[in-house]
């Protein structure tokens, strides 16, 4: 992308952010609170201290991966919202592989678990991509339904077939065991998921920016008819982008298991997949921007607690802010390409 286009994206996103913050301020003021004070706390809770920064980055880790689940297929013109389901299936696959590899060398097992999580998520969303191309089934609706089905399958498994009956207070799967847990990055209280998230975003960026595959996908996303006339293998492109997207979300599920929980349970489905959609759109499907936006939204969620405790704002305040931000960014899309200053003079 050219510098001008970058600047334009940044300017438009900043404008959307500011206008949604202003609208949010109105909401807050209606409750008799001082918006500026709330903003200051929001910032403090997100980035103000080392602890809050670590909290924010921890929050952002799964969002980077689930955002790719929407962002990658979107480059090929698909609107996938199945990150939640892919994450859940990825988590379940991770447990299955981790448990069956008990006793194996940890690095090997961890690699296998990540691969299994990615494979599970990849096939889950890949199925929706395949249905879209070869059967004409709308991928937005099918991935949405697959989310509910994935959660039901996971709940079924953890209350019966793969249940750890020693866990008395909630239904949970067999644990993978402490030897296979990867824990936190040295010197921080951030789990390793962040490194995976950043690496996945960088990898996706290289794939989309510097390979013929990425080029072909962008042609397909820009104009399906042109792609067909150019003889591109549309089915393969759709299938591969959806598999890769699903794999990213499946990897997020694997991380939840190997870095946070150690077992699968209903706590896998807490909405990371849905917030990921928002991240993808705010980042305008750009993998590098996904990193930045995920941190921004991670910060909003991280500071939500402080808003509750300091101002008595409901926990949904962060949802409202995210919703406003989403609408504002989409509306701001209409401005893209309208400003002369962002266009190169030679064009």
């Amino acid at each position: 992308m050219r510098i001008g286009a970058w600047a334009e994206t940044a300017a438009i996103s900043a404008a959307a952010l500011l206008s949604s913050l202003a609208l949010f301020g109105v909401f807050v003021a209606l409750r008799g609170l001082d918006p500026l004070e709330v903003y200051a706390t929001l910032f403090h809770g997100a980035f103000g201290t080392r602890f809050s920064l670590e909290h924010t980055l921890t929050q952002s880790a799964p969002l980077m991966l689930t955002a790719l689940c929407t962002a990658l297929p979107a480059r090929a013109g698909l609107l996938v919202i199945g990150g939640e389901g892919a994450l859940v299936i990825g988590g379940v696959m991770t447990v299955l592989v981790g448990v069956s590899l008990a006793g194996a060398p940890a690095p090997l097992a961890i690699a296998a678990m990540c691969a299994a999580g990615a494979l599970g998520g990849g096939l889950w969303v890949g199925a929706a991509g395949a249905l879209r191309h070869w059967r004409g089934v709308n991928e937005t609706i099918s991935t949405l339904l697959l989310n509910y089905i994935a959660i039901a399958v996971m709940n079924h498994l953890v209350t019966g077939p793969i249940r750890d009956f020693a866990q008395v207070l909630k239904p949970a799967s067999w644990p993978i065991g402490p030897a296979f847990m990867i824990g936190e990055m040295p010197g921080t209280s951030i789990h390793w998921g962040l490194a995976f998230g950043v690496a996945a975003c960088l990898g996706t960026w290289v794939l989309m920016r510097h390979t013929t595959f990425g080029f072909a996908v962008d042609i397909l996303g820009g104009n399906a008819r042109a792609a067909r006339m150019a003889g591109l293998p549309i089915g393969v492109l759709i299938l591969v982008t959806s598999i890769l997207g699903g794999a990213a979300a499946g990897l997020a599920g694997a991380i939840e298991i190997i870095a946070v929980h150690g077992f699968a349970s209903a706590s896998l489905a807490v909405g990371y997949g849905y917030t990921g959609i928002l991240v993808a759109f705010l980042a305008r499907q750009n993998p590098l921007a996904v990193i930045v936006v995920a941190i921004l939204l991670g910060g909003i969620s991280a500071s939500g607690g402080l808003l509750q405790r300091r101002f008595g704002l409901p926990d949904a305040a962060t949802l409202v802010l995210q919703g406003l931000l989403f609408v504002a960014v989409l509306a701001a899309n209409t401005l893209a390409g309208r400003f002369r200053i962002f266009r190169p003079r030679t064009a």
């Binding site: 909401f27 949405l144 399958v153 079924h156 949802l319 919703g323 989403f326 609408v327 899309n333």
Partner: protein, 305 residues
């Protein structure tokens, strides 16, 4: 009194009538919106916000019907936002829908905290089963006025879409925007109006959840009925009358798991309870085709292309 399997049948039939109403209203609203060529995926948020505002207003005013009206109006407001934002060039209606899903749910949770605990007055119902001596039959035939309204609205909307000038305009806009423009209609405004009306219906559907059945407000009230209803529209092939029958089917599918459990068939309840989702997906795969648009689909619709 041993009802056994008859009890299951009665529970499913009664459940179909009880559970189907939110599906019905949301799908009728979405049918209207999609007939004009737009998709509003935000109706889940509309449903939840409608449920909350309806409950809140009914509690504060003491009148459930005022709650229904406010729920509809709030839904119409969200629909209008969708319509207006999508009127801007280069704005994807599906994405705006997802954004409004998030915003509607967020607003409902944000404003709804004080209404989780209080008990609001409930919408009245008609005792169509007064002739029967059997309490289960009587209960299954306790029909809410909104169900009747939805059942009447479905054929009415179907008739209006295909037999009135107004219906013709909406369908023209949805099937061929250029032609509509050439005829001098404002495509954007007609779509915005259809989305607003659709939002109104979805809001009313939400008020049914909170004011009649299950009749409470909390943050887990909707388990995706608004999203399911959008898939339902595709399956009903954009026909309001078919929406009615498919809503009943979905309501029955939702009631099936609990009904079987209550006669002791207790295995695999998670999978049984996922029946409506699996059913929808299966029907969607079955009714789609890679070669042509879905039968009955408005050609301008992003979701069917």
């Amino acid at each position: 009194m041993e009802l056994g399997w008859w009890g299951v049948l009665i529970a499913v039939a009664g459940g179909a009538a009880r559970v189907s109403v939110p599906y019905l209203f949301v799908s009728l609203g979405e049918t209207l919106t999609e007939r004009s060529g737009r998709v509003n995926l935000g109706l889940e948020g509309t449903l939840v916000l409608g449920a909350m505002s309806g409950y809140g207003i009914a509690y504060l005013s003491g009148s459930p019907w005022l709650g229904v009206l406010v729920a509809g109006s709030v839904g119409a407001g969200l629909g209008l936002v969708h319509g207006l934002v999508c009127n801007l060039p280069r704005v994807n209606d599906i994405a705006v829908g997802i954004a409004l899903f998030l915003l509607g749910t967020g607003l409902a949770f944000y404003l709804g905290k004080p209404f989780i605990q209080p008990v609001a007055p409930r919408l009245p119902h008609l005792e169509l089963g007064a002739w029967s001596a059997s309490p289960p039959v009587r209960a299954a035939l306790e029909i809410n006025a909104l169900f009747v309204a939805g059942a009447l609205l479905a054929p009415l909307l179907g008739w209006a879409l295909f037999n009135t000038r107004w219906g013709l305009i909406v369908r023209t806009v949805g099937d061929n925007a250029d032609a509509a423009r050439a005829l001098g209609y404002s495509v954007g405004w007609i779509r915005a109006a259809s989305t607003t009306a659709g939002g109104f219906l979805a809001g009313v559907g939400g008020s049914f959840l909170s004011l009649y059945y299950p009749g409470t407000w909390n943050e887990g009230l909707s388990s995706g009925q608004g999203l399911m209803a959008i898939a339902l529209v595709i399956f009903a092939r954009w026909s309001p009358l078919r929406c009615f029958w498919v809503s009943l089917l979905f309501g029955g599918a939702t009631a099936l798991g609990p009904a079987l459990q209550s006669v002791g068939i207790t295995a695999h309840y998670y999978l049984l309870n996922a029946a409506p989702y699996v059913l929808t997906l299966t029907l969607l795969i079955w009714s789609s085709s890679p070669r042509h648009l879905l039968v009955g689909a408005p050609s301008e619709l992003t979701i069917s292309r």
